[in-house]
């Protein structure tokens, strides 16, 4: 079958991506995972300046999920170029830079500075990180702001622009449509849900910033509902992410209407997930006489 995925005027050689923030800058997983299997490698968020990230601890497990409060910890634009890009140039996967910031200008800076880098396939605009106090959350929840920011970024780059949607909104389809109107080539959903856990022994929230972002199988149904609804509301491709831990979960996303998928938390848990997902996709396609990824969505009755 044909595993390629068309996004804007570009192509991914397979529908399997690794989600931003869970795969570093690729080199960390080089020894563990055959990167030939990864169609798209979404980098950790890149901001103009380096960010140390949030207070510790930053991770806590929840029932079938985890909360993180990494807080856009990243090396910043300059060290991304000097230390991370050289390796990324060598990977077979499409390298998609996850772009973040505290204000609009940060997004422009990252995209403009990196625009000419051939090693970069496209951008994922992270409007939705729940761990950034100023800007972040409000930004991804207001359709008009999303449309305008997307349109501005659109003017800066020929490469595919993917807008990443937060599930922490009343109606995710209006945000998706705003991104589409602004000229996005695709949307990806979902980012993490706002969540919290309390350590009753120490009488504190486990995460020093109180809330964090919930990911993992617990959010699978929320991600699927989002993809199902968004893919029926926009004409651009929808990239499904959230809670995939088994190959069947990935198939569910494709049936729900996703044009491609991302594996996040499961990268931490099962290094064989990528191969298993790809095998399941091929097998399912053979069984249901599907010749391309785009046809999966039509299987749903």
């Amino acid at each position: 079958m044909d595993l390629t995925v068309q996004i804007g005027r570009s192509e991914l050689y397979n529908p399997l991506g690794v989600a931003s923030g869970t795969f570093g800058y690729g080199s960390e997983y080089e020894k563990l995972i055959d990167l030939n299997r990864i169609g798209a490698l979404y980098t950790k968020a890149v901001t103009p300046e380096p960010r140390p990230g949030n207070e510790i601890p930053r991770i806590v497990e929840t029932p079938s999920g985890m909360l993180n409060s990494i807080g856009l910890a990243n090396v910043g634009l300059q060290r991304f170029i000097s230390d991370k890009l050289p390796f990324l140039k060598s990977v077979p996967s499409a390298v998609i830079v996850n772009v973040a910031g505290s204000e609009e200008r940060d997004y422009f800076t990252v995209v403009e500075t990196l625009a000419a880098e051939d090693a970069i396939w496209g951008w994922e605009i992270n409007l939705s990180c729940p761990n950034v106090k100023c800007g972040g959350l409000a930004l991804g929840t207001d359709p008009e702001q999303v449309r305008m920011l997307t349109a501005s970024l659109r003017r800066l780059t020929e490469k595919p622009v993917i807008v990443k949607l937060t599930p922490n909104v009343t109606d995710i389809t209006t945000i998706a449509r705003a991104a589409e109107d602004g000229g996005a080539d695709a949307v990806s959903c979902i980012n993490t849900l706002v969540g919290m856990l309390i350590d009753t022994d120490r009488q504190r929230t486990v995460l020093p910033g109180a809330t964090g972002g919930l990911s993992g199988p617990a959010v699978l149904p929320v991600g699927l509902a989002a993809v199902y609804r968004v893919s029926r509301a926009v004409r651009i491709p929808v990239i499904g992410v959230g809670g995939i831990l088994e190959p069947d979960h990935a198939l569910q996303y494709l049936l729900a209407g996703a044009a491609a998928i991302q594996i996040g938390t499961a990268n931490f848990i099962d290094p064989s997930i990528h191969q298993r997902v790809l095998e399941a996709i091929e097998q399912y396609a053979a069984q249901h006489e599907v010749r391309s990824i785009a046809e999966f969505g039509r299987l749903l009755r």
């Binding site: 923030g21 869970t22 795969f23 570093g24 960390e28 997983y29 020894k31 563990l32 950790k44 380096p50 140390p52 990230g53 510790i56 601890p57 930053r58 991770i59 806590v60 497990e61 029932p63 079938s64 999920g65 985890m66 993180n68 990494i70 910890a73 990243n74 993992g216 199988p217 617990a218 831990l245 938390t265 990268n267 931490f268 848990i269 099962d270 290094p271 064989s272």
Partner: protein, 267 residues
């Protein structure tokens, strides 16, 4: 750091060695790099999503001859409870070896090893590795009560200084108390260049060891513990506060062993 990989291997033995403490021995795949003291592995204890994350454990022993490795672990929650239920021939899903090992002392330096609570495993591994080369090695091991101390300690690693918080066995008090008195009764503090501390245990203990080392002008290496996501340096989840502009280092790849002077010990 030798390359890590995921291995599906098998339990050889899993037995209680002290109150709530178990030792898990499992096949060490022949193609895998030999683990070194201070390094760790992560285990996925269940195929379901509870518990979800792999759990990190330090190697406590590696036997090249019979191709086996071990960890010593304490039952604390869901994952360690499941681990305690493993029987010989059960599968274990490990990612290993991970992290930086303890830097070994040169032959003139006298190593002092200090373990508290679940810090026992990596310290025993190091003690075993150093025993032959450093007859002057000192091992200080602590637990809350006598029942929390592994029974086999004496003999295997030379003379061991045991401590219990409640005085039910060995010295009464913490390992840091014992370390302080050991340091003061030896000429060590004056020959500072000749000694090096290795510590693993709860954070207050590591901080105490660090302060003593500063006082005595000796180097201390601490193996830290932090909740982990990826364990391979990708997620920034296992951050440890360090001095310097970056403010955080990753316990999984830049540690878990750090020179104690690099760490920001503020509470």
């Amino acid at each position: 750091m030798p390359a890590m990989a995921r291995y599906l291997t098998a339990v050889l033995q899993n037995r209680p060695i002290a109150e709530d403490f178990y030792e898990l021995q499992f096949n060490w795949p022949s193609q895998a790099p030999a683990p070194k003291p201070g390094q760790f592995l992560t285990i996925r204890t269940s195929q379901s999503s509870v518990p979800l994350l792999r759990r990190p454990f330090a190697f406590s022993r590696y036997d090249h001859e019979d191709g086996s490795a071990r960890i010593i672990y304490k039952v604390r929650g869901a994952a360690t409870a499941q681990l305690a239920g493993k029987r010989p021939f059960d599968a274990v899903d490990v990612l290993a070896p991970l992290g930086k090992p303890f830097p070994l002392p040169d032959s003139e330096t006298r190593p002092i090893l200090v373990a508290g609570g679940i810090g026992i495993g990596p310290i025993l591994f190091l003690a075993r590795a150093l025993h032959a080369h450093s007859p002057a090695l000192r091992l200080i091991v602590g637990a809350r009560t006598a029942a929390g101390l592994p029974s086999q300690l004496s003999g295997e690693y030379g003379e061991v200084i045991a401590c219990t918080d409640d005085g039910s066995f060995g010295h009464s008090g913490t390992v840091i108390d014992a370390l302080r008195s050991y340091l003061s009764t030896t000429t060590l503090s004056t020959n500072s260049g000749e000694s090096v501390l290795y510590l693993c245990g709860p954070e207050p203990m590591l901080a105490g060891g660090h302060r003593l080392a500063l006082e005595c002008g000796i180097t201390a290496y601490v193996a830290v513990e932090q909740t982990m996501g990826c364990a391979v340096g990708a997620c920034m989840g296992c951050a440890v506060r360090v001095l310097g502009p970056e403010r955080y280092a990753r316990a999984c790849t830049e540690g878990p062993v750090f020179d104690s002077r690099l760490i920001d010990w503020r509470e």
